[in-house]
Symmetry: C2
Subunit: 109 residues, 2 copies
DNA sequence: TCAGCTATTCGGTGTTGCTATGTACCAGTA
DNA sequence: TACTGGTACATAGCAACACCGAATAGCTGA
């Protein structure tokens, strides 16, 4: 979409991915494809992989290598308890921000 | 609040400031104080000033130097037509992101 | 004089997403 | 066999942005 989205994704993309993993385990390629489907047209693959590495190193997800019929093995990520807690914190922060912005938008009319 | 908010503010803080300026002209110190009032407890002053310089250089705001009774002169910023257009674009992008996130939050329950 | 509030500026840092590229596995096809 | 294309992951270099810390400067009251 553009620079605006890119900057806004900083900080939120991580939450988005965690939220996806909260629904079901998934692997990088799949997540990227799904996000593109959702309209995040220009999310780079590298971005998701780097992000997954980060949240893995922080201990928010568990990883399992699963062979694929169609290519190299998949790294399937699933949210663990720590990730769940972090995701809740993310939603609280998001709510805070969204409320303030909604107020600003109303006030600006 | 913490690192989470800091990262989320990337990209949105700019829109927040523009939205404030859409309501009325304002200067840096004032904006910072107002944001702190609103609960953005740890927004650094330097951050706002740097942001104001940026949006000025991009031609989104007009600037006027106004003497203060209590200190050095204030740089009062006001949103111009270009800034108004940019703000609308910001709201569109924000809506897009907020909708996706809201869907994710619902789906995760 | 000096502390404290108002007001702005700036250099350096860390995090993050993007770009571009490379690696690797597999199926279909000419 | 060689080539194309889809699947799947990794990484080095870059730019943008918010933070931190310190500096500068004007004014007021103790």
């Amino acid at each position: 979409m553009g620079k605006l989205v890119t900057e806004m994704l900083k900080g939120t993309l991580e939450g988005i991915v965690l939220a996806i993993l909260a629904g079901r385990p998934a692997y990088g390629y799949e997540i990227t494809a799904w996000l593109r489907d959702q309209g995040f047209s220009d999310i780079a693959e590298g971005t998701i992989y780097a992000l997954l590495v980060r949240i893995e190193q922080r201990g928010l997800v568990d990883v399992e290598k699963v062979p694929s019929e169609k290519g190299p093995p998949r790294k399937v990520y699933s949210l663990n308890a720590q990730g769940q807690a972090y995701l809740e914190e993310f939603w609280r922060t998001w709510s805070f921000l969204a409320e303030r912005l909604e107020q600003l938008r109303e006030g600006g009319k």
